[in-house]
Symmetry: D2
């Protein structure tokens, strides 16, 4: 697995299993001279952490980040930034029942086939706990990208979706536990998640993300188009099933005469079906995209499955799990978006002679 690195110039490399001693990472390539506000980074981690509301997993992990290098007198030095997050609340016994069992739609089977030796406790490396490190790095990237705004929010939980005429109010996002940008829909969604949890079931959802104030020119136009890299970033998050930007899948139904974004004199466009990206390069308009998450695979219901001998076994989820991941996915998506933008911003400095 020589691929625990994301990015080329602003790079994150991570390690850690959900029930090991610690998770952590190395941020390499963050320019020197960035003022680092550690409290703001911890706040981003808190937006992701378990136990933050009644509709997420009730595990209580402090998820405290410790920086070990690369910051001196409150600013980055340009050297690699090491950090760790200790695991303090592992209940490894919760997982002894799955030692030899392949949970449906989990990575147990594929890890076992691929690696042979795996840390099965809590999903090990395949646990979404790994995304805590992404949030740390993304929060550092945000501090480098002070003038750029990353705003993600939940736009659908199961069949409950924000419709075209629903007001999007960015102020609402952090006021409700679902992180929906519409207060009324947020209540509907919250109630639905509670009901799903009672059933011992789970449900999927969709997160939207808008990036404002992106300079023109970011993205590399052939294989590393801005949206291609954003797509990869999002698809690398646990449980993601789809990515679209601008007009997305709806755009496939449209005619060119309706879809084309016409220029104003200042180079901005009247519509934004392009989602802020033309030919793989940012055009200065808002970048917007959507990310689809499947329902969590661990159910609090009885399920039939197999063990590593190919025998049928029955299992019921133990431990403390999310009934719906999208509320906690919001800061992860912002973090990954920030990492992509930081990388391309640095790369873009090398474009002209």
């Amino acid at each position: 697995m020589a691929r625990n690195t994301f990015g080329t110039l602003f790079k994150l490399t991570t390690f850690g299993e959900s029930h090991g001693k610690a998770l952590g990472g190395i941020i390499d390539g963050c320019p020197s001279g960035v003022e680092i506000n550690i409290e703001a980074i911890q706040n981003e981690l808190n937006r992701r952490k378990p136990g933050q509301s009644k509709i997420v997993t009730q595990r209580k992990e402090p998820d405290t980040v410790q920086f070990l290098s690369g910051i001196f007198e409150g600013k980055t030095t340009g050297t690699s930034i090491g950090f760790i997050i200790e695991n303090t609340n592992q209940k490894s016994k919760d997982y002894s029942h799955i030692k030899d069992v392949y949970r449906p739609s989990h990575a147990d089977y594929t890890y076992d086939q691929k690696y042979g030796n795996r840390d099965y406790r809590g999903g090990g490396r395949s646990s979404a706990r790994e995304t805590a490190c992404r949030v740390v790095a993304g929060a550092v990237a945000k501090q480098f990208l002070k003038t750029i705004d990353f705003q993600a929010y939940v736009s659908a939980v199961g069949h409950i979706q924000l419709q075209e005429n629903d007001v999007i109010n960015i102020e609402e996002i952090e006021k409700n536990p679902v992180r929906c940008a519409n207060a009324e829909k947020a209540i509907e969604m919250e109630n639905y998640i509670k009901q799903i949890r009672k059933e011992g079931d789970t449900v999927g959802g969709v997160v939207c993300c808008v990036i404002k104030n992106v300079p023109v020119g970011l993205g590399e136009p052939v294989f590393d188009k801005l949206h291609a890299q954003l797509g990869k970033a999002m698809l690398s998050i646990n449980a993601v099933k789809g990515f679209e930007f601008g007009s997305g899948f709806e755009g496939a139904k449209m005619k060119g005469s309706d879809h084309n974004d016409h220029f104003k004199k200042d180079g901005t466009t009247k519509s934004n079906n392009s989602g802020g990206i033309q030919g793989g390069i940012s055009n200065g308009m808002d970048i917007n995209f959507k990310v689809a998450f499947k329902p969590v695979a661990t159910l609090m219901q009885k399920q039939e499955t197999i063990n590593n001998k190919g025998e049928k076994v029955e299992m019921i989820g133990k431990g403390r799990h999310d009934p719906c991941v999208v509320p906690r996915a919001v800061p992860i998506i912002e973090a990954m978006a920030a990492l992509v933008i930081a990388d391309f911003l640095l790369l873009n400095r090398t474009t002209k002679a």
Copy 2:
């Protein structure tokens, strides 16, 4: 633009503008000993080339690939494989009218902002002509991956979509100019494209892809999940707006109890909402995904736009363009999928001690 490379171990690097002397590329990392059938490679190029049917652009380019290295006595040598495709039918005068003009929803504006100096003829480097090189490399990858099948087909043109109860018949794909896997829908689609062309308009569409006989274990489970890399590959193709795999955006509406794929005793699963990938690693089931394409931006209608002085100008598309890209996108999608699989297959050889 130091990013004209795709892949890590099985790598393609490309060059070329649509109206330069030639396009070409270097395939680096193809193992030695692969038997190369050049006719089969040319056939793939022919599936992509312009002028192949009445519903695609009527440019006549032979698109003949010449291999310059890396193949000896009919087999690869393990050294880098250089190839070129000469540009023979450029009508550069067709483009003098857009020298200073930014076409709506094209990459003219963003290239100009990013690079300053650009070859505007035929879109230059931003032209989809660049994808010919991908098809060549993908065809080589397919010959390395003899036992794996890559089957893409058109599933939607504008609002005309394959429905759940439409039969998918792989045999039909190459029999109709749309490359739809259902003969009846193919006719509807073809007629719709013809009508759209008459209107001087264009339309988007969707391509499905199924990959069969993928070994278990491909993909790297954190940042380089198999579907994340497939998504990036597809999103890097010109005009793509979205990517989903397995249950995709529909999966976001589902409950876990419906979505989970239950194991049979042999490790295969009864359903395949996972799209052949669990935890970023192939599980041996068919891999399937969908790719959304926007309508072509060049219209044969009058459009208002701006020039590089910020002045309003009127323009009408000249040259020979596709009314809908999806028929020609089919081989490109297969090629990119083959490059992704070849790369992960080689990488997977390094997994165990």
Copy 3:
């Protein structure tokens, strides 16, 4: 500094300043199923650590490595291996006198010019303390490469050099504090280092390395020739000034008729001026190379230098420093060699179809 990573498939990324909280690293790409002997790894660290003998720096740092991930039930899992080494014996006050001063032939000036903000304590990131992380990763690589032997030893300290007729005895290396492969010369060298230290001076030296049992075929023959990557690895170690392999600089004086290595029937060669590498690829003979180290720049003598305002200042080295680095460099060279070989061994698995 987005370049704190070494290797492509077997990768090490490091972080840490000499006087920060901890150093550490992530080993990514180590195959699963490698049995890990942590004591053996600690032993390698102990060979590098300060205070181990009277001829090295008298700092007392325990340099204890803690592994945080990637090892389960005594074996690697194929996931990334995170580790840290806490800094416990920093005497940061020792360095307040160099806060604004550029020490001659140190990296103070260049870091300051490049980054602006730097952790000046103990050299910060430029300290050779960083190489502790390389030794950890190299020790893991050695456990993956069980059948390959890495044997480095000191062949020169200042003008005292092993001559052609001096016996090379591998058994002697760890028996003397210089790590010379000849007992008599070791005593000469030891005495010379002691004398140099008394003078408040320092001295350079040379380390030889022999790698035995390398399979035929490692190395990539154009830009990533085996010796080119070995050379880079060695030149990246602090204080290194030169690298040569096989016949080296002496080979430049020779005629082809004397230099050519003639084959025996089994493919081995009678002489080994090639140093085990032909065309950038290992040929199965012993790989051998030499690495030149300059004298340590920190002297216990008065030196004139400048501060960051360009003013002349006098300084005298404080703190505890090595009079000669080569004894402690031996395990670092072996470690870097092991990382190079591990990387090429994995890569070589992708060579044939």
Copy 4:
């Protein structure tokens, strides 16, 4: 062999066998807006090409470079630059006698072991003909780096070496066929090469390189130290056996009190044992290094060797070969140095916030 690429931001990828249709490469990451003088590039190629004087191989290859993309109206566009050099004067029959024979100290045996299938004609991919592509890319890099001077020259042929008191006169380099920077020594060297050729023998040599006007701050201080990357670049050139910079192997004999480079008030240093690099980062002084080349392995004498069945065979070199490579190596070394500097210059733009 997925490693035919050099560089990270200013990248060269090459292909081509000595007796295939063409060699070529892709320069990716050259910034837009660089004025390209194709004649100057061809001149660099002419400095490398065979047949240029009586002391090099008498093959007559025009080595004409054709650019296929990435340059528009005389300037780079920031897109990838493809180029080819056709092979026109191959005498493939010259090589039929070595089809199954492993020439001593050539790459025949190792290629065969590694790849199985190889183009044996003229050494195929292992031929130094590949370096023509490096010269093209280096010449483009030089045009990007207009203000930086790269001056390589021969300092030794066999035992004939420039001594400390020999005058180094840059003006002399291109005036003599040896490319020695001292006219008298050049004659001695030339005569020696002629004598060696008469004997059917070959001889090694050393090339020095000085880089002037390098800005302070280039190089990345841990694994990608400026001299480490320069060393790798040089060691990747065919026939190179050693690399040293600044004081080099001589520095290993020195005391710190003699070796340290003391600062003047302006940050320059009085001596330059550092070779222009401190802590892996350029300090603004001249960068200087030396490269050792072994004697050419192909002799015009009878040699005993083995074939691919392990049988003893006799062979005598046919074809047209260099008796000494250093005169033609001079432009190759400058080219590789330019590629390294261009890469680090671009990277350095990403250092500060």
